[in-house]
């Protein structure tokens, strides 16, 4: 994981590109839907997560392209580390990247859509954390697969998008509640759904990832 973060830090261009890509996505939503601030405000949570999702496809795709170049994955595989450790570090690295992206995006969203964060930053942070974890676990497994296949740029979203619909829904709902207040106390159940999703897919990824990268 240190290696991934190191690469990330040294090639900051990628993170920058991701951030600007996601910001452009947010901007595009406001253009596409017209200047109806009420509409934008009401759906801000959904837009935020769509921007993160689109950016995550790019970053996940990149995360194994680094390895595919110069056959680095073989090197990583030969290293005296468990394949599961590789999964955990890759997935956590991707999560960290997405969380950073989310943290950068939130102020932009607040400015663009004119939303207020009613429930405070703690809940927002937890939502970001859980949502990004939920994107990263299946995303890492699938990007390891897609990076070696033909048409990988099509394949990753094709595999990933249907899978993460529940987590996207939960994350967007939770964000909307954080932004607009939660009079019915529903936030907990969305967090529960996200946690359950994480449990399933981190578990599956942990079990199945060694099979994916073995020769």
């Amino acid at each position: 994981m240190r290696k991934d973060l190191l690469i990330e830090w040294r090639t900051r261009a990628r993170l920058n590109a991701l951030v600007f890509f996601a910001m452009a996505t947010l901007l595009l939503f406001s253009f596409a839907l017209g200047p109806d601030t009420r509409l934008l405000e009401r759906n801000a949570g959904g837009y935020l997560w769509l921007a993160i999702l689109f950016a995550s496809v790019l970053s996940l795709g990149e995360s194994f392209r680094v390895e595919a170049e110069n056959a680095c994955l073989d090197g990583v595989r030969l290293a005296p580390a468990d394949a599961r450790a590789i999964f955990l570090s890759k997935a956590l690295g991707n999560t960290a990247l997405l969380v950073v992206l989310g943290i950068v995006l939130v102020p932009v969203m607040v400015a663009l859509f004119g939303v207020k964060i009613v429930l405070g930053l703690g809940d927002l942070g937890l939502t970001l954390m859980l949502g990004c974890l939920a994107l990263s676990a299946p995303g890492t497994v699938y990007s390891a697969i897609a990076s070696n296949a033909r048409a990988r740029d099509v394949l990753l979203p094709l595999l990933l998008f249907p899978l993460i619909v529940p987590s996207l829904l939960a994350a967007a709902k939770a964000t909307t509640l954080v932004l607009q207040g939660d009079p019915m106390h529903q936030l907990g159940s969305w967090f529960g759904l996200l946690s359950g999703f994480n449990l399933i897919y981190w578990g599956l990824g942990f079990l199945l990832f060694p099979k994916v990268i073995e020769d």
Binding site: R152, L204, V212
Partner: protein
């Protein structure tokens, strides 16, 4: 035995389908509230049952493959996913045709319909993966992994009508429908079951033949990757 079954089962399927159609269309009474529209249940419900059954078979094959690799399991996984997707699509289309007169819309974001749609798209991705990976061994392992991950949605589709009570009614079964409707439903279900077995077994033989052909001549096959074409001595460059 196997050969005979191959010849007999399609006939059985067609006869049962015809019987189910007759019973469903003419013998069973119209529904008290929905009238004749309800008769679509006799094909919609079995189609979805078979889809879930086939995808469950795919899950079993995927798990088995990871523990004990074999081309047969892989071929069966491919066949069951394809047939499952076919029946699932038929089921969703029929449901949507039924939804228009009953609910007033072809499509609604009901949990059952939504999860079923997610399931179908997930298996489209699974089959796309199978087309995009050339190495048969890697394809088998990866699609097994993807099959297991995608299978998480299958029980969710089944239980969605119980967890979230909404538009879609609880599963139709002999317990929830009128006794006079049970017979056509049963006949139809067995017809679809026979049809599914016919489809899967045919598709399985094709897939197995494909696999054997691939494994028999791995080098002789033309490759459409320009990086490896012509200069097979140098290592493959992955950009």
């Amino acid at each position: 035995m196997g050969k005979q079954l191959h010849r007999v089962l399609p006939v059985v399927a067609v006869v049962l389908l015809a019987a189910g159609a007759y019973l469903g269309l003419f013998w069973a009474p119209p529904d008290r509230e929905m009238g004749d529209v309800q008769r679509i249940m006799y094909v919609h419900v079995p189609a979805v049952w078979m889809a879930l059954l086939a995808l469950t078979l795919n899950f079993c094959c995927s798990v088995t493959y990871l523990f004990k690799p074999s081309w047969k399991t892989d071929a069966m996984a491919e066949a069951s996913a394809e047939v499952g997707l076919l029946f699932g699509t038929v089921g969703v289309l029929l449901g949507s045709i039924w939804g228009r007169p009953t609910w007033g819309v072809y499509w609604t974001w009901d949990p059952r319909i939504t999860t079923a749609a997610i399931m179908l798209v997930a298996y489209v991705g699974y089959l796309a993966l199978r087309r995009f990976v050339e190495d048969p061994e890697k394809r088998a392992v990866w699609s097994a992994v993807v099959g297991i991950i995608a299978a998480v949605d299958v029980p969710i589709v089944w239980f969605s009508v119980r967890w979230w009570r909404s538009l879609h009614q609880v599963q139709s079964s002999p317990k929830t429908v009128d006794p006079l409707m049970v017979l056509p439903l049963r006949v139809s279900a067995f017809a679809f079951l026979a049809l599914m077995i016919v489809f899967i077994s045919r598709r399985y033989l094709i897939a197995l033949a494909d696999r054997n052909a691939e494994v028999a001549l791995p080098e002789a096959l033309p490759t459409d990757d320009p990086a490896t074409r012509g200069n097979s001595g140098t290592p493959k460059v992955v950009a």
